[in-house]
Amino acid sequence: MGNFPILSFITFLPIAGMIIILLLPKAQTLAMKSITLIITGIQVILAGFLLYHYNYGMGGINNPATFQYIEKFRWIEITGFSWIGKIKIDYFLGIDGLSIPMVLLTAIISFIATLASWKIDKAVKGYFALYLLLVTGMMGVFVALDFFLFYVFWELMLLPMYFLIGIWGGPRREYAAIKFFLYTLLGSVFILLVVIGLYFSTMETLVDGSKVFTFNMLSMMDTHNFVANGILSPMNPHNLRLIAYIALFIGFAIKIPMFPFHTWLPDAHVEAPTAISVILAGVLLKMGTYGILRVCYPVFPDITLKLVWWIGAFGMINIIYGALCAMAQKDFKKLIAYSSVSHMGFVMLGMASLNTIGISGAVLQMFNHGTITAMLFIIVGVIYDRAHTREIDAFGGLATQMPIYTGFVTLAFFAAIGLPGLSGFISESFVFLGGFAFETIRVITVISTLGLLLGAGYMLWTLQRIYLGTVPEKWKLLKDLDFREYAMLVPLSVIIIFLGVYPSFMLNLMNSSVNSMVKFMMDSRALYSSITGF
């Protein structure tokens, strides 16, 4: 394939689909759905292609030479404002071991969520156009290496999401959409601040030897590129790196969502249509943790090392708090939403461990949580489609009524509580093993193991309340799964079981990058202390 810009292709393909859909007449809903399905299908194939040709030995993280499928050219260049200097923004894409699992996840979840949107019948054209735009935004975030571009994709994904929740959502959709939008926008503002700050603190040396300010993330990771008196340069004795780090972290943490910024999540999930919940939980939440790993960690290793206890502690709070809140929910979807909060806590805990096992566990957990939660939300969607309620106590005995569906439910629930043989187990174990190995967060890790118990508690309790027992008279007519629902649940189940028995498939993929990350963090400890002189 040589120089074929496959990353751009995979990112912007949905935009092409969007244009086609916009050109179609309103009544052609089937064509719109098919086009979306085909486009996302092609994305899955392309992601498979990326995977097939992926070089497992290349680490990425801070070294541009070890990124793969790189595309880099000048995107915006303004000269002439001689007193500001040149403005130069690159179009810079590339992937490494951190991004490729996320690219895969995005492709798979988008495809499955397309199937989940099949029954949308309100303003179909708008829905699928926005949906494809959303897919582009998500994919872009995971492949962008220029901070400005990253930010553009980050914002690009925000707007369609707002409309998708706000128009196709449940009864309180506008409230939920606004809440989602403002929360994330707040996060974006924080991120933007830091982007600008970093821009004015980093200079890149061009081929001709001249220096320009840069948005290149990889340049920001190299201490040589910092301007001596930039406000975010470590050499500047009055630098604002700590504040900037916290701002950036909060920006990403809102997406995770980290306690106490998580309250948008239950509302957004409850109101969003099934497919959007799937996307939201499956991919969007990962952007927060991905952003932290991609930006916060390597750009601010000095601060990360200082604050790592806090990251772990918030991870712990997420795990336990989310689980306890989930236990008390009466709405099935809200329960799953809180379980997401709990499971994302594992990711944070794993990130805080700063060693290969823990971070591998965290990245793997991102992928696994994506698939498992997607499955859980589809499960909620299936029951909501039929019964038009999500009240847990309204159900009972569905195992008798819908045995095959209950089989899938059991699988997903067991995966969510980390049953061995299913994918959740390895990632959670790795997170714990990694966390325990790191002295700073050892106690936190041990406390977090309580999450295993609580998770099992609320999941099994839900299983019992909805699926076990006897069927109330009014649900006697519920039908078991149809073909479309099989098509969504079977692939996810296969992935969950496959990664449960053969986790090396994913772990090998990310191994070099995680190692580079850990090595980079370890080296930075000495490097930054020599720069700042304390």
């Binding site: 002439g80 506008e174 409230y175 606004i178």
Partner: protein, 103 residues
């Protein structure tokens, strides 16, 4: 008193700009909001032309100012059309009474 130079013009433009914002933020009538926007556009234009004179650009600044004026005209036309529509629907042009964004 120093000779009039670049900074004087910049001063004028920044004050004009701020007044524009003030108008947008405080006035309740949609048309008044539009007027505020026009003020801001004019402030920007002053900057363009001032830099065209004191910077090393030739006439590029003036060209840009022309473009701005043209776009402003288009914008004013569209905006007023929208205001008329709003008036038809809500029977008011007071922007603070139009808060469907809230729910």
């Amino acid at each position: 008193m120093i000779h009039v130079g670049l900074t004087h013009f910049l001063f004028i433009s920044s004050i004009l700009f701020s007044l524009g914002i003030f108008g947008i933020v405080t006035r309740r009538n949609a048309v008044m909001v539009l007027m505020g926007i026009e003020l801001m556009l004019n402030a920007a234009n002053i900057n363009f032309i001032a830099f065209a004179r004191y910077g090393n650009f030739g006439l590029q600044g003036q060209i840009m100012a022309l473009f701005v004026i043209v776009v402003a005209a288009a914008e004013a036309a569209i905006a007023l059309a929208i205001v008329l529509n709003i008036y038809k629907i809500f029977s008011t042009v007071n922007v603070d009474e139009i808060d469907t964004l809230k729910d």
